[in-house]
C-alpha cells in the first residue's frame, strides 16, 4: 500500500498532469466527435456534391459554391428564414410573458402553490413529438375539440383551419410551442424571484409604490441576469426546433410552416442532397451564434454601465 503512494509521489509532474487529463479526455474526445466534427464536416459538405448515388459509391466531389447558389436561388430559403424568425420570436414572447406572469403569481405563497407549480411542468417534460400528436388532434378542423369548444361558447361558428390553412398554421405551431415552453420559463423566473431581497419590496411599499411600479422598478431590473439566461437559452433551443413542426404540420400546408430546421431535414434526408442540407444547417448555426454573441455582449456592456 505505502509503496504505491510513494511511487505516485515520485512521479514527475508531467506524468501527473497527464494522469489528471485522463479524467477529462474521454468526454473531451466524445464532444469533439459529436459536436466538433459535425460542425467542421458540415462546412466541408456544403461545398460537396451529394447525389442519391453517393450513398452507394461514397463519392462526393467538391463543387465549389454550387450548393450555396442553389439554396440561395430557391425562394423557399427566404420563406423558411422569416418563418423561423417569426416562430422563434413569437414563441419567446408568448412563453416569456406567460411564464413571467405565472412566476409572479406563484410567488404569493398560497395553499397548494407548490404542488400546482410542480405539476405544471408536465407539458415541458413530455416528449415534443407526443405533444405535437395530441395538439394535432385537438386542432383538427372538423373533429378537433378546440373548434367544438369555440363553437359552443359562440366565438366562432365555422371551424378555424388551425393546421390546414397556410395563413393560420404558423400561428398554431407557435401557440403549441408557447404551451410547451411556459413551464420552463416559469420555473427559472420563479427561482430568480426568490433571490430578490425582501427589503427592497418593503422599501418600495414604504415609498407608496404600487404593484405595477414595483414590478418595473424593482422586480424586472433585479431579475435581469435570469431574464438573459432564459431568453438566450430559449432562443437557441427554439430556433433549431424540428420535432414539433414535423409532427404537427410537416412544414406545410404549402410550406407555410417550413423552418430552417425542417428545410435542412428535407434537403438532406428526403432529397438526399446532403450538400444543400449542410448549407441551410450552416446558416442555422450562424444565426444562433450571432444572436448569442450579440445578446451576451449587449447585456454585459449594459450591466457594466449600470454599476
Amino acid at each position: 500500500m505505502s509503496r504505491t503512494t510513494e511511487r505516485s509521489r515520485a512521479r514527475s509532474p508531467r506524468v501527473r498532469a497527464l494522469y489528471r487529463w485522463l479524467f477529462v479526455l474521454p468526454a473531451l474526445l466524445y464532444m469533439l466527435a459529436f459536436f466538433g466534427y459535425p460542425l467542421v464536416r458540415n462546412v466541408l459538405m456544403s461545398f460537396q456534391e451529394f447525389t442519391p448515388r453517393t450513398y452507394f459509391t461514397g463519392e462526393a466531389p467538391f463543387n465549389g459554391l454550387e450548393n450555396w447558389r442553389a439554396v440561395f436561388d430557391d425562394p423557399l430559403l427566404k420563406d423558411a428564414f422569416w418563418q423561423t424568425m417569426v416562430f422563434t420570436v413569437g414563441s419567446l414572447v408568448g412563453q416569456f410573458t406567460l411564464g413571467m406572469a405565472l412566476a409572479v403569481f406563484f410567488s404569493r405563497r398560497f395553499r397548494l402553490s407548490g404542488p400546482v407549480r410542480a405539476v405544471l411542468l408536465l407539458p415541458w417534460l413530455v416528449p415534443m413529438v407526443v405533444s405535437a400528436v395530441v395538439w394535432r388532434r385537438i386542432m383538427d378542423e372538423d373533429h378537433g375539440v378546440l373548434n367544438s369548444f369555440l363553437e359552443t361558447v359562440g366565438l366562432s361558428s365555422d371551424g378555424v383551419p388551425w393546421l390546414s390553412s397556410p395563413s393560420v398554421a404558423l400561428l398554431s405551431v407557435i401557440l403549441v410551442n408557447v404551451w410547451i415552453g411556459i413551464p420552463f420559463n416559469m420555473v427559472i423566473l420563479y427561482g430568480g424571484l426568490q433571490e430578490i431581497p425582501e427589503e427592497l419590496y418593503e422599501a418600495a411599499a414604504l415609498d407608496g409604490a404600487g404593484p405595477w411600479r414595483t414590478f418595473w422598478r424593482i422586480t424586472l431590473p433585479m431579475l435581469r441576469p435570469v431574464v438573459t439566461v432564459v431568453l438566450v437559452l430559449g432562443f437557441m433551443s427554439t430556433v433549431k426546433i424540428l420535432d414539433l413542426v414535423l409532427a404537427l404540420t410537416g412544414g406545410g400546408p404549402a410550406d407555410s410552416t417550413q423552418t430552417l430546421g425542417t428545410l435542412t431535414y428535407q434537403l438532406s434526408f428526403l432529397r438526399l442532397d446532403f450538400g444543400q442540407g449542410a448549407v441551410v444547417g450552416n446558416i442555422l448555426i450562424v444565426i444562433s451564434a450571432v444572436f448569442a454573441v450579440l445578446y451576451l455582449r449587449a447585456n454585459r456592456a449594459d450591466q457594466g454601465s449600470g454599476r
Binding site: V130, V145, I188
Partner: protein
C-alpha cells in the same frame, strides 16, 4: 413578496382557485390525450369530453403495434444514461478540482455545444455512421442520444464537485488509494444527488429524442417510440384512439419522474440553466 401573506384567508383561497384554473387550462391537452385513449370508438368522430364507458382496448392495440418500440426506447435511453454519466462524472471532477490548463475553455466549450442544432449533427453524423456501419444500430443511436444530456451533466456535476473539499480526497490518497479509486469511492458517493439529477435528465432527453431516431435509422430495426408515433400519424390516421394510447404510454416516464423525482427535476432545471 412576503407582505402579501398577511392577506385575508378569502384572498388566499382565491389565489388557489385561480391556480387550479390555470392548471386545468394548461393540462387540458394531457387530459384530452388520456380521455381519448380510454374511448374505444373515438376513431373517426371527435371523442366525448368525459369517457363514459372507459376501456383499455386502445392500449391493447397500441401495445401490439408499439410495444417493441417502447422497449427500444427504454434500452436506448438507459444506454444513453450510462454513456453520459461514465463520460461526464470523471470529466466534471477533473474540471472542478484539478485546475487543468485550458479547463475553463473546455467548460465554455461545453456550454456552447448546446447551441449546435441536432439536425446539423445528424447531417454530418449520418455519413460518418454509414462508413462505420452504425446506421440502424443500437450503439449508434445510444452514442448520439448521449450527446443530448452530456453537456448538461458536465455543467451540473462540475458545479457540485467544485464544493467538495480536496482534503477529503487527499486523505483517502494518503491511505494508499490512487486518484481514480478515491474518485470512485469518495467523490461519486458524495455526488449522489447530482448524479441522479443528471442521469434523470439524460434519460428524459434520450427518451424524447426524435431527430436522431429519424435520421440515423433507415429501417425499422431500431425504432424508438417517438419514431413509432410519428410513423403512426404519418400517412392517414384511422385510429386516433390507438395513437393517443401510444402517446400516453410514451408520456409515462415523464409523469412518473415528475411524481417520484420532483426534487431532482427542480434542482436540474435550476442548476443547468443558471450556471
Amino acid at each position: 413578496m412576503r407582505q402579501r401573506t398577511s392577506r385575508s384567508p378569502v384572498a388566499r383561497w382565491g389565489s388557489t382557485v385561480v391556480a387550479l384554473l390555470v392548471l386545468a387550462v394548461m393540462l387540458f391537452p394531457v387530459y384530452w390525450m388520456v380521455s381519448t385513449a380510454l374511448q374505444p370508438h373515438s376513431s373517426i368522430a371527435s371523442a366525448d369530453l368525459i369517457p363514459t364507458s372507459p376501456s383499455l382496448d386502445n392500449f391493447r392495440t397500441a401495445l401490439d403495434s408499439q410495444g417493441g418500440s417502447l422497449v427500444t426506447s427504454l434500452v436506448v435511453a438507459l444506454g444513453a444514461v450510462v454513456v453520459c454519466l461514465a463520460l461526464a462524472a470523471p470529466a466534471a471532477y477533473g474540471l472542478a478540482q484539478f485546475g487543468l490548463r485550458g479547463g475553463r475553455s473546455i467548460v465554455f466549450g461545453t456550454l456552447i455545444t448546446q447551441m449546435v442544432p441536432g439536425i446539423v449533427v445528424a447531417n454530418a453524423l449520418y455519413s460518418a455512421y454509414a462508413e462505420l456501419g452504425l446506421v440502424n444500430s443500437y450503439l449508434g443511436l445510444i452514442l448520439a442520444d448521449a450527446s443530448l444530456g452530456l453537456p448538461f451533466a458536465i455543467v451540473l456535476l462540475r458545479a457540485f464537485m467544485v464544493s467538495i473539499p480536496s482534503e477529503v480526497v487527499e486523505a483517502a490518497m494518503v491511505d494508499g488509494a490512487n486518484r481514480f479509486t478515491a474518485f470512485v469511492r469518495i467523490v461519486l458517493p458524495m455526488s449522489r444527488n447530482a448524479l441522479i439529477t443528471s442521469g434523470l435528465f439524460a434519460f428524459l432527453f434520450a427518451w424524447a429524442d426524435f431527430v436522431f431516431a429519424l435520421t440515423l435509422n433507415t429501417t425499422d430495426d431500431v425504432r424508438p417510440v417517438t419514431l413509432g408515433l410519428y410513423q403512426f400519424i404519418g400517412a392517414h390516421v384511422s385510429d386516433w384512439g390507438a395513437v393517443m394510447a401510444t402517446a400516453v404510454l410514451s408520456a409515462i416516464p415523464a409523469a412518473i419522474l415528475l411524481v417520484v423525482a420532483q426534487k431532482y427535476i427542480a434542482a436540474g432545471i435550476a442548476g443547468g440553466s443558471i450556471k
